[in-house]
Symmetry: C2
Subunit: 267 residues, 2 copies
């Protein structure tokens, strides 16, 4: 049975999509059959694999709007052992039109039951918000991965994110656990970064009560160093392992994927 | 009469708040009486000036919810010739509850009429979305400043932003003009960056028809180089000119503010 993780931070531009693509690719390279789901109307993950606005073919939107359609019809192959479900900008309708419908928050969880046996890992790239789509991801997931930059302005969002995770764990998904924070676009030499990392670890400690979803969460290592090749790879429709397999970005994501496998007990 | 500008890009984390604070501070240092408005429920601009969640004191929310309150009651002093109106997370309600109300989109424009004579420049820090709050900013503004990173994934958003600007200019604000793109967190040595900048300039050229709001828009110079001191300054409640007046970030924002003044004809 696949381990399912939501890659989530409501702050925009921190590295959610870059992390979902490259951790996913690293897990597939290490032998795990992996599915990536683009749940963001911006559909940057889809663009990363060369799929842009294909409204005539089924994708993530149909998981919500066409219950008769088998989920397998929405799945595309990206690489060996790596599949993905693309998004379209129309997905934004789900946040609007559907939000008030009864049982709306558990649609994705029910949809993934049908394919959970076919994969070892499923990663969900979330939009930069804590709305209906992100809540669907949290309800469907076992774990939460939180990409963050070690910047002062980024700290305030962590508390709010943990509040939403707690709310979902107390209502619809008691199994939900926060694996930890992934430091993205990291500038390891900076004193400011070190102070913020210490503050993040402090926030986990203060909340570290029994029974909260983040009681075992930590800052995952290694940090992902800032590396322009990570920003270049999407324009060629490539993962970092295709584009520059020896660069710091590839080494960091490779090592991070191993750390995640260890944390999930699938090493 | 103040020139009013919306600092807007629906992509998160590009540098909107950092630009509003530091261009604002540079304009004030150059002698212009400047007002900054925090229109983002994340309230990062407010945090930058040491104001956090002061729901008991009036701020940007009351501009929408309490028409009887004089706008001057929401204004705080930040530095010499630099005032600001703080936000609170409750502002998110405006996107939800108020969106359907008739005439909702022109509230901010009407509110700013009362104080427009008291300032030379008013900058509005927008949330990372194209919803009711950002539309209010566009209706109230003369100009749009678009912070962007020169990354491939950032390009797709520009078209959508220009579409929204066109829609506002054709309905509620015919005077609205796009001043241009501000390159943020810029890595000038990167070939990828150069290719993306060329693509942005191309997008402006292809659209450059008569009568569109961006017919004179361009990539503003100098780019704002990536500089960790810009990320450190907010944690001390300081602008870059307080924190590190000789660093690259300060020099870049100083020169950019002059370029903006030239473009606005207020040099
Ligand atoms: N380690 C890194 N080094 C350099 N650039 C990076 C790195 N990680 C991400 N980027 C770049 O930073 C930008 C933001 O990253 P990304 O799109 O992955 O963030 P996101 O959190 O998914 O954004 P959104 O909230 O819009 O979905 C992108 O242009 C990406 O290429
Ligand atoms: N030139 C720069 N060099 C280094 N760091 C920067 C620079 N500009 C912005 N930053 C940092 O990048 C992060 C994002 O910047 P900022 O918060 O200004 O973006 P934003 O567009 O306002 O984000 P949001 O969409 O969440 O409102 C912040 O942590 C900020 O300190
Ligand atoms: Mg993303
Ligand atoms: Mg901001």
């Amino acid at each position: 049975r696949a381990r399912i993780a939501a890659v989530l931070n409501q702050k925009g531009g921190v590295g959610k999509t870059t992390t979902t693509v490259n951790v996913g690719a690293a897990l597939a390279r290490s032998g795990l059959k992996t599915l990536l789901i683009d749940l963001d109307p911006q559909s940057n993950l889809s663009l990363h694999f060369g799929v842009e606005e294909e409204a005539d073919r089924p994708g993530a939107l149909q998981l919500f709007t066409d219950q008769a359609l088998a989920i397998s019809k929405t799945i595309r192959k990206a690489r060996e052992r790596l599949d993905f479900i693309p998004a379209t900008t129309e997905m934004a309708l789900v946040e609007g039109d559907f939000a008030a419908i009864e049982g709306m928050q558990t649609i994705l969880a029910r949809r993934l039951e049908a394919i959970r046996g076919k994969y070892d890992a499923i990663l969900i790239d979330c939009p930069p918000s804590l709305g209906v789509l992100s809540v669907n991801a949290l309800v469907a997931s076992d774990f939460v991965l939180v990409p963050m930059q070690a910047h002062y302005l980024a700290l305030r969002g962590l508390g709010k994110l943990l509040e939403t995770v707690l709310m979902v764990s107390q209502s619809l998904n008691p199994e939900l656990r926060v694996t930890g924070v992934i430091l993205c676009q990291h500038e390891s030499h900076s004193g400011h970064g070190k102070a913020v990392v210490a503050e993040i670890e402090q926030q986990f400690e203060t909340y570290r009560a029994e029974g909260v979803p983040w009681s075992e969460a930590r800052v995952l290592r290694p940090p992902i160093r800032r590396n322009i090749k990570l920003a270049e790879a999407p324009s060629f429709g490539q993962t970092i392992f295709d584009y520059a397999p020896e660069c710091a970005g590839a080494l960091d994501y490779q090592a991070l994927a191993e750390a995640i496998r260890l944390a999930w007990g699938t090493a």
